[in-house]
Amino acid sequence: MWMRENPVLNRELLTTLRSPRSFVLQFVYVAALGALVYFYWPAGVDDGSRMVGPGVAKRLYDIFFLGQFCLVALLAPTFAAGSITGEKERKTYEMLLVSPLRPHTILIGKLLSSLSYLVILILSSLPLMILCYLLGGLLLSEIARSYIVLVLAAGTFGLLSVACSSGFGRTSSALVVSYLVVLPLAAICVALTRADDPSTRDFASVAILPPVCLMIWTVVGIVVNNRLLRPSDVGGQGGGVVDEEEEMKYAIGVVIDRDAFPDRLFAPAKRNDLMPDGTNPVLDKELRSEIFSQGTLMLRVVIQVSMLLSIPLMAGLLFLRSDLAAYYVAYVLTFNLLVGPVFSAGSITQERERQTLALLLTTLLTPGRIVLAKLTAAMRVSTVLTFLLTEQILLAYIMLPELRGRPWTLIVFLLIIAATCLTTSSVGLMCSALSRRTSTAMVLSYLTLLILFVLPLGVRWYLQGVSEEYDLSPGRLALITVTSPYAAATSVPMHAYRPGDAWGGDRTDFVTPPPAAFPGGWSVPVWLVFLVACPVLAAAFTGVAWIAFLWRWWKAGDGA
């Protein structure tokens, strides 16, 4: 009953696996992995300069394992966070709950259907991994251990995302909270299972990870089961109204006060009087009414988790090793990568899903004004939330002499963060205009941002392994990464690390990463190229959003 006769699982599998897209995506995935192996394959080198050896196999194994682990950490929430909120958004949640299906059957059906495709993707890489084993330098047990870790991670991350999905009303909220829970766990998991000492690795993978996962599955399973058995978020009219004041009374931890700084920057107080003349009503509506329309829980969780995570990172990356300040910036950028699309990817799709787009489009508001208001509102909220995490950087620059001596690097870091905020919001808006559903827009946004921000780093890492054969200079490799804010942040010259020299004082020994080498002999720092390219890209994304909005509205006639 749980699996073979589970109607929830059967329905979801039918709709997912019978679509041609599933097969195309799987083909592309295996083909891409195949290409990775092909270019590394030593048999292809005639002069024998690249030997068959553990180095090649180990690098491929790292790419496969880390790449797939990232894939699991990023895709498991994408597939699972919409599993129950999707039912709520489609208004089929109550029908499902009143059916004779037991809550655990629904839960298992949702979990397995969300993860089945991901697990199929992971397992489809197994033959290629075995091929790498033939190169030598790898143990079969190592490969088996990796796949056990991957499957355990997929199950845990998926279940946590389903739990978030049952706790929130909208997929976007569930997704961002899932990421905030899953990504720190993923970082811990990678740190444990990739320790240099093989015995520690095996112990962590075999003796620690499975029981911890089992414990998480049991606790989260019971919580979700109870929630499905006695749902608190169903009801007739009036059920959708959120009383902010009442909610704040029982809020744990952070309390959002619209009248106080800095909360009023992202959530200005509700109006007591009519809007002044000349106000963009869409912008006003987004900031004053819609931001907390589903309650403040999501934002409170986001703020609290991000602040909590920032404390150890601040200690480690700013105060103990100030030369690694760029990595703290990378944390802030990751936060924006997660949060940015939440506020923009639903901006147009939600108007369509809620059936308010026809009301909006028959007013005198032009599409350009609507799109601009949506972008401004989304960017304002995500930028303010992101910049809350930069307080720690400011503190470090004030307190640490080795940082204080180079204030321009602080300005560059802040500009990189601001440019990233602009990019994430504009990408989300573009995907929202291109998609029919918010969940699709969210996935498309994250995918686009990963291609822009993370894929270039992976490609650079991959090409470093063959840089000698293909004559790829560090400058050429740096050029690949100019769309990545991570590369931009780490390209800012920082002082060299000296053990036992935490509070470095005035420093003159700086490490300058290789600049991007353009054809024609031009060399420009990666961060500078990024800062120039980002506004251009953001303008292009916003332009696409505007055109897509117009096109959908007029040409297809389904804008409403």
Partner: protein
């Protein structure tokens, strides 16, 4: 006021609306009748500037729907068949939002919002959240939204769908009030009794084609081979009345029940007057003499020959 000229909308191979033409005069209430999927909403969305036609043209108050949509939006108030509301907004905020979107200055907005709330009997809900309102209240609120810029033309797609009987009656009374205010109204429905009472003209659409358009009376005449006369008498002299009617060349058949006589008649209005004169001259005690109207349902079924749904 509203003109649809050879409007056609195709989605790939499927033709949703095929060469539709009709016009609605100023102050008219035009009922757009048709079964589900007939093309009513497609036509309405085209007129509301939300849909680009495959071919054809539409004009509202002299403005082209395709060439000058902004001018059209100034003169129309549009209420879609299925609509949502913004979460986290109060009723007055919702109306203020649309009033700003229609570029109404702040100095006028307070008065206008108060007036439409009163007209729609929503004053007591002014500070309620819109997502907490009942379906009927939301319908009213949406109608209030369509009135904030005082448009001369209202385009209402199924305004009473999903309402309970009381809310349905209240909606009907509201539409009558708007009619008295001189608005030109295009209203669609597949519930015919909703429209029969207050529409000055109707258009019957099925499978994307307009089968008939005009006043209900004109359409009745066009589709009926025979008109039906019903004569009510104050006393039981039905036989005499039946004999007089049978002798008239405009009468095809006569049936008498109790104090009433029903006759199939193929004459015009003058013949009806002549017949009444003959009855009166013969001293028949006529209490009422009238053509028995066809209900809108009957008109609809006859026009569509029962092939709908």
């Amino acid at each position: 006021m509203i003109e649809v000229i050879n409007f056609t909308k195709r989605y790939g191979e499927f033709t949703a609306v095929d060469d539709l033409s009709f016009s609605i005069g100023e102050g008219e209430i035009f009922g757009f009748i048709g079964p589900n999927g007939a093309g009513k909403s497609t036509t309405i969305r085209f007129l509301a500037t939300l849909l680009r036609p495959t071919s054809g043209e539409g004009r509202i108050a002299g403005h082209s729907v395709t060439e000058d949509p902004m001018a059209v939006r100034r003169v129309i108030g549009f209420m879609p068949d299925d609509f949502g509301v913004y979460d986290g907004m109060k009723v007055w905020e919702f109306l203020d939002f649309f009033a700003v979107a229609y570029e109404i200055p702040k100095a006028m907005r307070r008065r206008i919002i108060g007036e439409v709330l009163e007209l729609l009997d929503l004053t007591h809900k002014r500070d309620d959240y819109v997502n907490g309102l009942s379906k009927g209240m939301k319908q009213r609120l949406c109608l209030a939204k369509t009135l904030v810029h005082d448009p001369p033309v209202l385009i209402l797609d199924e305004p009473a769908s999903g309402l309970d009987p009381r809310a349905r009656l209240e909606m009907k009374a509201l539409l009558n009030e708007l009619r008295r205010m001189g608005k030109t109204i295009l209203v669609s429905s597949h519930i015919l009794s909703e429209l029969a009472d207050f529409c000055t003209s109707i258009g019957v659409i099925e499978r994307g084609r307009l089968l008939a358009a005009g006043s209900i009376r004109d359409i009745q005449r066009k589709i009926r081979a025979h008109r039906v006369l019903k004569v009510e008498l104050t006393s039981g002299e039905t036989d005499r009345a039946a004999t007089i009617l049978r002798d008239d060349p405009a009468i095809d058949s006569v049936e008498a029940y109790g104090r009433s006589v029903t006759a199939e008649f193929h004459g015009d209005d003058e013949d009806m007057g002549r017949l009444l004169g003959r009855l009166m001259a013969a001293g028949v005690p006529v209490q009422s003499f009238a053509e028995e109207p066809l209900s809108l349902e009957e008109v609809f079924m006859m026009i569509t020959k029962g092939i709908v749904n």
